[in-house]
Symmetry: C2
Subunit: 385 residues, 2 copies
């Protein structure tokens, strides 16, 4: 009965039944009044999650489409961007920027480490001519399970005029992000992460300075044109036919987040993170990222010597219905990833850890003792004392 | 009780309950074996609808994203395209091509008329140097309710090397399209039309000649990169997180189309078209398009002198829950549009015509006699004799 799955993925996350029901609402005219109301409600709800008074636009695309929208609408061919990378999705920013003719300077940190704000400050201080038009960086790097300190990176920018573009696709609503307070010019989110909705929507906030850059930008875009999205948004529409069913789902998910409160969502994700880390360490495994920079959304776990990620992920799925992710990029063959993001609670993590213990025992790595679950429960008790 | 709506839109169409249920399936890992099977099944089903052995790729975007993908992957800046326009979506092809640096030559036909294949043949005959790299044209023009004769346009191409790129977003599965038999290099479809699925997916078929053009194309693209889509497709994946819930819906909708059969779907849409046209003519209204080129998906209806489209569309929705579309482009203020596309049957059309008769009577244009419904029923009987 392993068709009854527990998804421990860094997205897509499980979809709550009430979100699934909301998505089954009858179709509506996306040029009619019902849609305008839906778009307005969702946009206002998103602004509260982004913690911003900036414009928020919604595009029918997955998160990578949002990353491309940020690049293609802000940066012209020949413009220079400083891309701060700590894993695969930082590298994706580099590829997108290069495909769109942007000159990229990469400030790379090793997989498993966070970006050093001091290094960003140092690089910008040397850019006396103000050649760097934008800093592209991840809030949460999904491939390594690292949370960057965006507040510190924004402070490191100081008075440098570069726009700060933050991919918070797997971060927003799981970890705090304060778009206005931290001065984030563009923040990019996705529906299938802490928002608990199936994939297909990407949401972006843009500051006034970002819109000024959009006005001047000469890069190619049509479907992902952000100015078109803003202008249609003023009349309660989208330029192109939107994924209406997903918007209904997002409206419901935003209501759920407001009921839980953002603060409690952050705390829930922090608790799950600490439970996973305590559990895997007790089972003799090591996380890729240090505790101090550990992501609340996903934990990349090093595979024991002599094993491949599939040795663990395949029996987890086939024997126990526990779906975790493999590795990506430079650590593709060295880690598997346990997601603890979105519609996931401590019970999912406890049973996932129990399954992991069984799989490791079957592989002869450890013997079954219950220690993984026990250590995770201690964390749970501490968070809920 | 006008929240009980009858959607007579040229997309999004009503979603069948079994499609809505399919979309509520639990989330899965889009990098796992369940997804590979889903993608394979859907892709094979799409090939049967496209009537092609060419590759078919699926992108998470609405139809306009598919149109952009065709332009950005086939045509480099400076390349020349012949854009055959008969309405708003033809003009959209012009805009997209221009935004991506493509030199456009527009062969425009008046709103309400179909493209003349002889004019296409004449223009290509003059292009001795083979400067025209692609012909961009709509199969079904949603803004005017006109069906172009793609088979004749393909024949008009003759031996000219231009690629034939066909937007069949609102045509496919409602009207016959034979990608292989007619030599269509790229066909672009969308989920929210005759496929009866909410918006958010666009599907493209590409011929070998189209792939050769993709290899040489220097235009900017990343999220909508078709070669990436093909390469990931070979391993049962998509390059970026796909709209999985919509793919589940599409799988179910394809099963419904196979049960109905494509031929019967074409016949159903033709019957609905003829019912609508007989009904509105009996009510003293005139379709924008001539019978010979009339679309099986949507009918643009001229608004009686002295009235605006909203005079008809607003009371239809507010009094009767019948949702039709306004005008677009050059005929924005002169037509409204009755969709008869997707999950729509003769009963929807009959009640829609009854509501239209009531609204026209309330406006003092006619008096109620039942003639619209009567004439539509005669057509229904003829089709089902």
């Amino acid at each position: 009965m392993t068709d009854k799955q527990i998804l421990l993925l860094p997205g897509p996350t499980p979809v709550p039944p009430r979100v699934a029901l909301a998505m089954a609402r009858p179709a509506i005219n996306h040029r009619g009044p019902e849609f305008s109301e839906l778009l307005h409600t969702v946009t206002q709800g998103l602004k509260r999650v982004f913690k911003t008074n900036n414009d928020v636009v919604i595009l029918t695309a997955s998160g990578t489409g949002g990353m491309e929208a940020a690049v293609a609408n802000l940066l012209s061919p020949g413009d220079k961007a400083l891309v701060v990378t700590v894993g695969v999705f930082g590298e994706r920013f580099v590829k997108i920027a290069q495909r769109f003719g942007v000159e990229t300077e990469v400030l790379a940190f090793p997989y498993g480490q966070a970006a050093d704000p001091a290094a960003v400050a140092e690089r910008l201080a040397r850019d006396k001519a103000g050649e760097i038009k934008a800093i592209l960086v991840q809030h949460n790097e999904t491939s390594t399970g690292v949370l960057n300190d965006i507040e510190a990176i924004s402070k490191a920018r100081g008075d440098h005029p570069a726009l700060l573009v933050v991919d918070t696709i797997s971060g927003l609503a799981a970890a705090d992000l304060r778009v206005d307070e931290w001065g984030i010019d563009v923040a990019i989110a996705g529906s299938q992460k802490a928002f608990m909705v199936p994939p297909g929507l990407t949401m972006l906030s843009l500051s006034d300075r970002a819109w000024q850059a959009v006005e001047k930008c000469k890069n190619h875009r049509y479907y992902l044109d952000l100015k078109d999205a803003r202008n249609y948004g003023l009349k309660g529409q989208t330029p192109h036919t939107p994924a209406v069913s997903l918007l209904y789902g997002l409206k419901e998910a935003l209501a759920m987040l407001e009921e839980e409160t953002l603060e409690k969502s952050f705390r829930r994700h922090a608790c799950l993170r600490d439970m996973v880390r305590a559990g895997i360490k007790a089972l003799g495994l090591e996380p890729l990222a240090d505790d101090r920079v550990a992501s609340p959304s996903v934990t990349a776990v090093k595979v024991p010597a002599g094993l491949k990620p599939a040795d663990i992920t395949v029996p987890l799925r086939e024997k126990h219905g526990v779906v975790v992710a493999g590795g990506q990029g430079q650590v593709k063959d060295r880690v598997f990833r346990i997601g603890h993001l979105g519609y996931v609670n401590h019970m999912d993590v406890l049973s996932g850890l129990a399954a992991l213990e069984e799989v490791l025992a079957s592989l002869g790595v450890i013997s079954v003792s219950g220690i993984g679950v026990a250590k995770a429960l201690e964390v749970y008790q501490k968070f809920n004392a």
